[in-house]
């Protein structure tokens, strides 16, 4: 079953009277439960593409359907609500609200979206923290956590509302390899549990069991040298 579908999607930016095309005629399909890698050189359009899928940004051409919804028909507030419910997002840095503790950060996401019943929130938050292995940090403020721990907290928060899709922009970009490895393990667990996971990565992807690899070059999809079937 297709969960994400892009047809001839383009995105150009206007700046100083000049138009710059970051994505041109991108078409792709992601099925439910897939583990997808988005790769390409810096400036190739990876973040732009992710922003379009999450509805954070709007395409200048083409169609995007996510979870059977034409997301760009939403108004700003309904889009926020929809996104909160369906997509978990993990940014590269600065993601936790500094004035809230780790567990409060997770509870805040639940409060915004309001799909998890109130009496289950506390327990669910603790379970998520256990799942990413930082339960003992629950009542600390983000500044007291290491980079890797903060990233785990961000994953826990992204999972707060049981999203079908998890999107991460270079989640392990500035972590040491051991920490990066343990975070990747969380993603594989999630995929195993049925979540669709899309990650942007710069790193060597050989040896990782991705279901699909999308390679971008100058805003266009490039055929990847090793097919998914080969990798499997």
């Amino acid at each position: 079953m297709n969960i994400i579908q892009l047809n001839n999607v383009s995105k150009s930016f206007e700046q100083g009277g000049q138009s710059f095309t970051a994505l041109s005629n991108v078409s792709l399909t992601i099925t439910k439960g897939e583990y997808v890698a988005l790769i390409g050189k810096s400036g190739s359009g990876k973040s732009t593409l992710l922003n379009l899928i999450t509805g954070i940004d709007h395409p200048t051409g083409g169609h995007i359907t996510v979870a059977d919804t034409d997301i760009h028909k939403f108004g700003e507030s309904s889009l926020a609500a929809w996104r909160g419910k369906n997509i978990g997002i993990i940014f590269q840095f600065f993601q936790l609200i500094p004035t809230l503790t780790i567990i409060e950060n997770i509870l805040l996401a639940m409060e915004f979206v309001n799909v998890i019943p109130k009496d289950q929130r506390q327990n669910r938050a603790k379970n998520l923290l256990t799942q990413v292995g930082i339960l003992e940090q629950a009542n600390k403020f983000p500044s007291a956590l290491s980079g890797g721990e903060q990233q785990r907290a961000a994953i826990a928060r992204a999972l707060a509302n049981k999203p079908e899709i998890l999107v991460a922009d270079e989640p392990t970009g500035n972590l040491d390899s051991a920490t990066a490895k343990s975070i990747k393990a969380i993603f594989t667990d999630l995929v195993a549990a049925g979540t669709t996971v899309i990650i942007v990565t710069h790193e060597d992807i050989s040896g990782t069991d991705f279901d699909q690899i999308i390679q971008l070059k100058d805003g266009q999809i490039q055929p990847h040298n090793s097919t998914v079937s080969e990798m499997k």
Binding site: E76, A80, K85, F91, P98, T99, L108, A109
Partner: protein, 788 residues
């Protein structure tokens, strides 16, 4: 507790200093604005309420024929609300050894049945025992008189002992602390005994269904016809300002200043709040982006910041409102005591509280609306791309400057330009404060200039107003032995509010007749010139008399009624003075009209030594001569005391102006202080970067202090530009309020005010940037760079 609510509270905690500043600003705004609102409510009501409760008279008529009047019949007339005989004589009374003041002695028909111009018992006996007097409570402040004192009074050249048996409160009188009169009330027999005058020669009347002075004039015209028919010849009449306390102008001025300042204080504290909100939003933009990305709707974001704002408001109102009520009442008490009226308002109406509370909650929101809107509407993408301050084009150029050996001036300048919007608001607020403060000082200076002028206009040192007109030699003879007096000139004149008892026109405009070429008067002219001595009858008016002759056209003929005749005279000039309505004419011309021989009633004395102490010493000598020789005198006043009386009338206004201008300046200085503080706090990270690339702490501090100085200097400049038109307007406005319509004060520039402004503003600019900057550089470079 909701996490959203928790976040608002944590923001308060984290931005503790900013939040505290916001609370302080709003509290001061609510306190200042609220207390002025409270006092405005109390005072605007109470002075006139005090006055109207006395059922003030609207018309007074003098006649010797009132025996022919059927009083019962008069009371029956539907247009008459009340009428009583209330004769008044002016005597003199010794208030301290060798210090005499005019005594306004009223005869009262029946103390227990006052129906008009009422007054109230305060202490001692009421009614005063037969043969004794009661004096007005405000008199206690300017004399040593009190219940049971026996004082010497001068009447018809004799010294009589009078006993004071009671103190009353007469809200209808101008406060004697300002006018320097003693008001006394006594039974009719005692009135005649003390003054030697018959009673029932002055009737005071209050009408039904009159709403303006014009209505009173019409009612009087009708009454005059009836009186004439009954054979009652009216000698003089007076229609005071319609149902208005004699010192209402002072209160009006104070209320005016209050009103505008309270509005300004409120606005300024709002600007402060909006600046703080702006700074908070600038620093939280990325957080807003994250929250939106994880599912926050617009309503959620709105709730977070509204909670924050409303909490600030709630705390500020909780502190500010009780303070406002307290100080508002105290302030009203103070003004009431100065103006001698009682505060009648005991409970403030709920709407006063409601106004403060509603404004306290709503205005900060309204003033933060642009920021709130931005926070709610910013797209996730833009929010996430935001790195704090407007990074834009200037960021790169400032980096270039810093790497090129850092020119502090241009860097400071660029930094200001980078926050154009906020710095502009800061400067405008500060400029407004400076402008208002300077205006306050300038208007104050205009008033003191006016005081100096009015003191200069009197070139004599002592003025003795005799009760009767006598030949000049007879008048001056008793004083020839006082060596300190260098010269004496004789006039026909009176002074101040006793003027009309000395010499006046038929409609109670004071009259001054003196040699047109005398050197003792140097007037302050609004229009035209002084008397020229031409063949034709000429006259000069003061601005208070203008309404009687409106429209004023210099050179035109007008009818004046003097010495019982209506005479045509040419108006040659109008002077400005703090006095009752008066006209000036040449003494020889007046004598021709009045068929007087070479007689005078006023002695204008010039002393050899004009110093304050000497003038007062000589005055006592003159007083002794008068008491010993039994000379009948209405009034003795020294130029220095008269100037003091004028000053006392204006002083309350001057003081209010000063205090309130200071309030504005301090609120705006606080605004600038906080803006500079925010400026530094926000740039903690930049400070880290600057230091990482080699800037010494000294250089960093210099950079911020430079910015502070630039903002203050620009604010002062803008403030001065603003103060010029404001002061010109203020001189006009306050002139009209204090001296009467169409009587502007002269525009003056107060260098003292300018100096204070400059020092305060620059000092604040310095402290406000120096303190936070010193604090900021204590943070280590590493921490500074990581600072959010």
């Amino acid at each position: 507790m909701s996490i959203i609510f928790k976040k608002s509270m944590r923001d308060i905690q984290q931005r503790f200093r900013s939040t505290l500043l916001a609370i302080l600003a709003l509290t001061i705004g609510i306190w200042g604005g609220g207390s002025l609102l409270v006092s405005f409510y109390i005072m605007s009501n109470d002075l006139s309420a005090n006055y109207l409760l006395t059922k003030p008279y609207q018309l007074s008529i003098q006649s010797k024929d009132f025996a022919k009047l059927d009083l019962d019949n008069l009371h029956e007339l539907p247009e008459i609300a009340a009428a009583e005989f209330r004769d008044r004589a002016i005597l003199r009374i010794e208030v301290k050894p060798d210090e005499w003041l005019p005594l306004w002695l009223y005869s009262v028909e029946d103390f227990d049945q006052l129906s008009i111009a009422k007054f109230y018992p305060q202490a001692g006996q009421f009614p005063p025992a037969k043969g004794t007097i009661a004096i007005e409570r405000n008199n206690l402040l300017i004399s040593q008189l009190n219940v049971d004192s026996v004082a010497r009074a001068q009447s018809n050249g004799k010294l009589i002992d009078v006993k004071i048996s009671g103190i009353i409160f007469d809200p209808g009188q101008a406060p004697s602390t300002q006018d320097a009169f003693i008001y006394a009330y006594t039974d009719e027999a005692n009135y005649t005994r003390l003054s030697g005058k018959a009673t029932h020669q002055k009737l005071i009347i209050r009408f039904n269904n009159v709403k303006t002075q014009q209505d009173v004039k019409q009612a009087y015209a009708k009454l005059a016809i009836q009186f004439a028919a009954q054979g009652i010849k009216i000698e003089a009449s007076n229609i005071p300002k319609f149902d208005q306390h004699p010192h209402q102008f002072q209160l009006n001025t104070i209320l005016m200043i209050n009103g505008s300042i309270s509005f300004l204080t409120f606005i300024m504290s709002m600007v402060l709040i909006s600046q703080l909100m702006n700074s908070i939003f600038t620093r939280q933009t990325r957080q807003i982006g994250i929250m939106k990305a994880i599912g926050a709707k617009r309503g959620h974001i709105l709730r977070i910041y509204l909670t924050y704002l409303l909490s600030i408001s709630a705390v500020s109102i909780a502190i500010g409102l009780p303070l406002a009520v307290l100080t508002g009442k105290k302030y009203s008490d103070f003004i009431a005591s100065v103006l001698n009226f009682d505060i009648l308002t005991t409970d403030l109406p709920y709407f006063i509280f409601a106004i403060v509370i509603v404004l306290g909650f709503i205005l900060p929101v309204i003033f933060s609306l642009p920021m709130l809107r931005n926070a709610v509407h910013i797209s996730v993408n833009n929010a996430l791309a935001d790195y704090g301050i407007e990074a834009g084009n200037n960021a790169s150029s400032s980096r270039k400057t810093s790497s090129m050996g850092m020119n502090i001036y241009s860097l400071a300048w660029r930094n200001l330009a980078r926050r154009k919007g906020r710095m502009l608001v800061t400067m405008l607020t500060m400029a407004l404060g400076v402008g208002i403060f300077l205006t306050g000082f300038n208007v104050r200076e205009s008033l003191s200039q006016f005081l100096t002028n009015s003191s200069n206009s009197m070139q004599y040192d002592l003025k003795v107003v005799l009760k009767n007109t006598v030949p000049p030699e007879t008048a001056s003879a008793p004083f020839n032995d006082i060596a300190a007096i260098s010269s004496i000139e004789g006039w026909l004149d009176g002074v101040g509010r006793v003027q009309t008892d000395a010499i006046a026109t038929a409609n109670s405009i004071g009259l001054v007749a003196m040699p047109y070429d005398n050197t003792l008067n140097k007037h302050d002219f609004l229009q035209g010139t002084w008397l020229t001595g031409a063949e034709q009858l000429e006259f000069v008016i003061n601005q208070q008399a203008a309404s009687e002759f409106a429209p004023i056209v210099i050179g035109q003929q007008y009818t004046i009624s003097i010495a019982g005749q209506d005479i045509s005279a040419r108006l040659v000039g109008m002077v400005r003075e703090f006095d009752v309505a008066k006209i000036y004419i040449d003494i020889d011309k007046y004598r021709q009209i009045a068929k007087l021989d070479d007689e005078i009633n006023s002695l204008m004395m010039v002393l050899n030594d004009r110093s304050y102490d000497n003038v007062l010493r000589v005055k006592k000598q003159v007083e002794r001569v008068i008491a010993n020789q039994g000379i009948e005198v209405v009034y003795i006043i020294s130029e220095v005391e008269y100037t003091k009386i004028v000053f006392d009338h204006l002083n309350i206004i001057l003081t209010a102006l000063l205090i309130l201008s200071l309030l504005v300046l301090s609120v705006s200085a606080m605004g600038m202080g906080s803006a500079m503080g925010i400026n530094v706090m926000e740039r903690t990270r930049e400070i880290g970067v600057l230091r990482a690339i080699g800037a010494t702490p000294k250089m960093v501090i210099r950079l911020f202090v430079m910015e502070g100085f630039m903002v203050s200097a620009l604010s002062v400049l803008l403030g001065i530009l603003l103060a010029l038109p404001l002061s010109a307007y203020g001189a006009k406005f306050f002139g009209n309020l204090i001296l009467g319509e169409n009587t502007p004060l002269d525009f003056t520039f107060s260098f003292m005010g300018f100096a204070i402004t400059l020092i305060v503003t620059l000092a604040f600019g310095y402290i406000a940037s120096r303190l936070p900057a010193s604090k900021a550089i204590k943070i280590s470079v590493r921490e500074a760079i990581a600072y959010e």
